[in-house]
């Protein structure tokens, strides 16, 4: 060495300093006798809670390595209406990089990573498996006391060994809806102003951007609208495209965008831990943004077929079937006893939910396609059903349920019926209401009646104390009205009396309504799940009120059909008109759909029926 070190070479005793290390413990772990305990956030093999997993497939979509495939599990049941598919993720650990993006996108939070990080097995195919939850998987998971490294190496993993888990704060999806601007409760209860203001462009785009495109909603929707496609079009700022997609399955978006029962949102995978994508409001945004459907859609009826179809009832089902048949070139005439289109949605939903202009927009578009509407025409009175049967090649019954049921308790004839009340207010003259109103019923119609009554009270008795209360057989947990409907009613100050049944309408000396005597409900359904309410006869309550409205359900009016023809109709056990897969009834010329056929009793199911019936009628006419 030629270079001279500048550094002090030190004492020859220096090496002896190392002796102190003799008393230190070794730093290495003696595996496998001392296995390393992984950290709490360790990203090991997957765990999947099958009860929570909806099979939405978002994990498979986000996986950068395509390590996840969705596998159908035959022993699991698909429940489209709840947004559950019988598919579960299968992991290929030859591809997985343990990044955990699947965990952060998982909407129900069922997929987690365990703290197990090694896997040794004689069989190579065990490297690709369908993860289950440690609690349900008895075969592969061992309790801590039975755990050993040897067992663990043969796919036996330790129980309660959860590692990297989903956290809503750091999720890749946005769990909260863009808030829909509402008119404030204090303001809206004073008038029939439309309560929901509607999204503007920015809000709609932002809300549309939340959709994960898992399409669970499309399976839940009775009419199977292409929801993720039309939401994507909104996100891309192409409302025209979006409208075209909607019209493939639903010709009344302006109506449905306001009053749809949104089965889609119940199935939305985001609704499990957050709020569903506001599918209904997005549809409404499209319908409201586009002023003229016809120029946007660029659809014309097909070549005239020369066949004539009569549609009885201009409700959502009737309108839809008329539109779809008109597109196929048939001549369609719609009969309705009301002065305008919409049927039940014209009279039912109060103006603050569905203004008449919104209905007419959809109806006018269908009329502009060449569908003939005969309003103010009651079949059976203004025109005979027999004549319709004679003059037309096919008949569609979309007559719905137009008769209100009564509780038939003592003095019930002094009460008002829900539909009459709603119809009078919406398209007739304003009803004179009492200061203290009792609404019997806990369904959506009851909510509409109560909220409408409250508005009328405030308008007719300004600055006076007024009360509207509801009585329902059902307790809070089984109340059939939609949750948000109940919440909004509460906000407006409507009082609820759940689990009370009406016993008697009490009258004063002059014969005017004084109040309602109620009994406590024991149970609403019997053991078979049938509607059979039972009461505690001794527990009574008196509700004071000067006006009682019954909103406990509706029935169909078949009186326009001649007796000998009516007898030919077949009915199901639940007293619904029996139809086949084409929407055809037991009378070959007559097709039916909507509330007289299905049990859902809502607009979108009527549209779904109409779609089937339109195909069926077309097939029937061309054969």
């Amino acid at each position: 060495m030629t270079k001279k070190s500048k550094i002090n070479k030190g004492s020859f005793l220096d090496p002896f300093k190392a002796i102190r290390f003799l008393w230190k413990k070794p730093k290495t772990l003696r595996y496998p006798f001392e296995p390393k305990e992984p950290a709490l956030r360790c990203r090991g093999f997957h765990l999947n809670d099958w009860d929570k997993c909806t099979g939405c497939g978002n994990c498979a979509d986000i996986c950068p390595n395509e390590a996840i495939t969705m596998v159908e599990i035959p022993e699991l049941k698909s429940k489209p209406e709840e947004g559950i598919k019988n598919e579960r993720p299968k992991l290929d650990y030859g591809r997985c990089c343990f990044c955990g993006l699947c965990i952060d996108i998982c909407p129900p939070g069922s997929l987690r990573l365990s703290r197990d990080y090694f896997h040794i097995h004689f069989k190579t195919d065990t490297f690709s498996f369908i993860p289950k939850d440690e609690k349900s998987d008895k075969e592969n998971f061992l309790p801590a006391e039975k755990y050993s490294v040897l067992k663990a190496s043969l796919t036996h993993r330790k129980k309660d060994y959860e590692g990297f888990a989903s956290d809503l704060k750091y999720s890749l999806f946005e769990p909260e809806q863009v808030p829909m601007p509402h008119v404030k409760p204090e303001e809206r209860k004073l008038s029939f102003i439309e309560q929901v203001i509607g999204y503007n462009k920015e809000e709609a785009k932002k809300e549309a951007s939340r959709c994960l495109e898992c399409k669970l909603c499309e399976e839940a929707c009775p009419a199977h609208l292409k929801i993720s496609d039309y939401i994507l079009a909104i996100y891309e700022d192409k409302p025209q495209e979006s409208l075209k997609k909607i019209f493939e399955d639903n010709p009344i978006p302006s109506i449905c965008g306001r009053i749809c029962m949104k089965h889609c949102e119940e199935a939305c995978s985001l609704s499990i831990r957050g709020e569903a994508v506001a599918v209904r409001w997005l549809k409404r945004y499209v319908a409201d943004t586009i002023k003229d459907y016809k120029t946007t859609l660029e659809l014309e009826p097909a070549r005239p077929s020369g066949k004539k179809v009569a549609v009885i009832g201009a409700g959502p089902g009737g309108l839809s079937v008329a539109y779809f048949l008109r597109l196929k070139g048939h001549e369609v005439t719609v009969f309705d006893s009301l002065p305008g289109g919409g049927g039940m949605v014209r009279i039912g939903p109060p103006l603050y939910r569905l203004p008449i202009e919104a209905i007419d927009k959809d109806v006018n578009h269908i009329a502009s396609m060449g569908v003939e509407f005969k309003f103010n025409t009651t079949v059976g009175k203004d025109i005979l059903f027999e004549n319709i049967m004679k003059d037309y090649n096919a008949v569609y019954l979309g007559i719905g349920t137009t008769l209100s049921r009564s509780t038939k308790v003592k003095n019930a004839e002094k009460c008002l019926l829900a539909l009459n009340f709603l119809q009078e207010n919406k398209i007739g003259k304003e009803e004179k209401v009492g200061k203290e109103i009792i609404v019997i019923g806990g369904g959506n119609v009851a909510m509409d009646v109560a909220r409408e009554a409250l508005r009328l009270q405030h308008m007719q008795y300004p600055d006076q104390e007024v009360i509207t209360k509801t009585v329902s057989l059902e307790d809070w947990d089984i109340m059939p009205a939609k949750k948000d409907e109940i919440e909004e009613a509460k906000e407006e100050g409507i009082q609820f009396n759940p689990a009370w049944g009406p016993k008697e309408v009490v009258l004063d000396e002059k014969g005017n309504v004084k109040g309602l005597l109620c009994m406590k409900v024991k149970s609403v359904f019997d053991e078979q799940g049938k509607f059979a309410p039972s009461f505690h006869e001794d527990k009574e309550m008196f509700l004071g009120g000067d006006m009682i409205i019954e909103a406990i359900g509706q029935a169909t009016d078949f009186s326009f059909i001649p007796k000998e023809l009516f007898e030919k109709f077949e009915f199901t056990e639940r007293r619904k008109v029996k139809v086949d897969g084409n929407g055809q009834t037991s009378i070959s010329k007559v097709f039916a759909g909507g509330d007289i056929v299905n049990l859902n009793l809502d607009a979108v199911t009527a549209i779904a029926d109409a779609k089937i019936a339109a195909e069926g009628i077309d097939k029937h006419l061309s054969s």
Partner: protein
């Protein structure tokens, strides 16, 4: 004397990583050295064009095995710049602490490789043990030991777990307590001095001309550090110094690395003291519908090897149009290494190469 061609790597005990050098030697003297990259080419830059913005996030870290964290950071910074995403204040601090921990870890790993190569097995084992302690911290924070997949666009993936601050402090104290041991056995060891002094020397001007960064440049006396020049994360909020040495040889480079580790530890303590509370993540848009507006961005960070840059172009789609990394090992491993090996002895090949801190996967992107 006869001229020989000698293959150094990729299967060679003195070689770290999948990299090779072809040496033309005459006796013990190297006449010419040619670096051969390409043994680890995985086409990351191309792969990234085929993956969505969020799918790239677990991928970028794999470009540098030894220190994946700065890759995550530079990618997150580029996306944030292109998409105009704000990062919460606390996330800046968490990122800085995390990146400094990564620097300490990476330097300890480098020290292991270097000491091992020189035959200082004891020091190498210490460094490896201390490196593992840092990995334990990462495991606790992120769930991964090597690929942490932690810094993502919008902030970081999870906040500190409970008691994590104390854990960092304790771990760093126990590593810092061994600095005298390291000094006595390694940095002040005459053997180390003899092997490294005036070996692999590069002048400041030459270093600048050849595109040297990081320790290689700082060992020539130049105070150049991206954290100072173009502060990112929370580096501007605390007081710290850039350690330098004057001579530009292996000895200086190793001392810079040692000083930098100590500076980083002090910086972490300061950052932890000043760390604000609050959120650590601003949610990015839905990954399935995330299109980033048209534009291009160049961002750079100071990785433990030197300046790390990323040029990214977005065409307004859900994937990057072009990604290009400027990695420190590229110039160090392909240009400066060839230059410094000229006239060196065969015994010094590993010595010089590891002191330049060449990490092969950084070259082959």
């Amino acid at each position: 004397m006869r001229e020989l061609e000698l293959y150094f790597g990729p299967q060679h005990l003195g070689m770290v990583g999948n990299f090779s050098i072809t040496l033309k030697v005459e006796g013990d003297r190297i006449l010419e050295a040619t670096a051969n990259p390409g043994y680890l080419h995985r086409g990351f830059e191309k792969l990234m064009e085929l993956r969505t913005w969020i799918q790239n996030f677990p991928l970028v870290c794999r470009i540098n095995v030894v220190e994946p964290d700065h890759m995550e950071m530079v990618y997150a910074m580029a996306v944030e710049k292109l998409a105009n995403i704000e990062v919460p204040e606390r996330a800046h601090y968490v990122r800085s602490v995390y990146l400094e921990l990564a620097r300490v870890g990476s330097h300890l790993f480098g020290l292991w490789a270097y000491a091992n190569m020189l035959g200082f097995d004891t020091v190498a084992n210490w460094a490896m043990y201390h490196h593992d302690l840092v990995l334990d911290l990462f495991e606790e924070l992120t769930g991964g030991r090597v690929y942490h997949i932690y810094i993502w666009p919008g902030g970081v993936r999870r906040d500190f777990p409970e008691g994590f601050k104390d854990k960092i402090v304790n771990t760093l104290h126990s590593i810092g307590g061994c600095v005298p041991d390291y000094d006595a056995t390694f940095f002040n060891n005459p053997l180390f001095y003899e092997r490294t002094k005036d070996v692999g020397k590069i002048a400041r001007d030459e270093a600048k001309r050849l595109g040297a960064v990081g320790q290689v440049l700082r060992a020539t006396g130049m105070k150049f550090d991206i954290r100072k020049v173009e502060p990112y994360a929370a580096y501007n909020n605390v007081d710290w110094d850039v350690p330098t040495r004057e001579d530009g040889d292996v000895y200086s480079r190793l001392w810079v690395i040692r000083d930098e580790m100590i500076e980083s530890v002090h910086m972490i303590f300061k950052l932890l003291d000043k760390m604000p509370s609050g959120d650590v993540y601003n949610r990015v848009p839905n990954p399935f519908k995330w299109n980033i507006p048209k534009g291009e961005a160049y961002v750079r960070t100071e990785s433990s090897r030197g300046e790390l840059g990323l040029y990214m172009v977005s065409n307004g789609e859900d994937k990057p149009y072009r990604v290009h990394f400027r990695t420190p090992s590229y110039t160090h491993g392909l240009i400066i290494l060839e230059k410094l090996l000229k006239n060196a002895s065969i015994a010094d090949v590993g010595n010089i190469m590891i002191s330049l801190y060449v990490v092969a996967p950084e070259i082959d992107r």
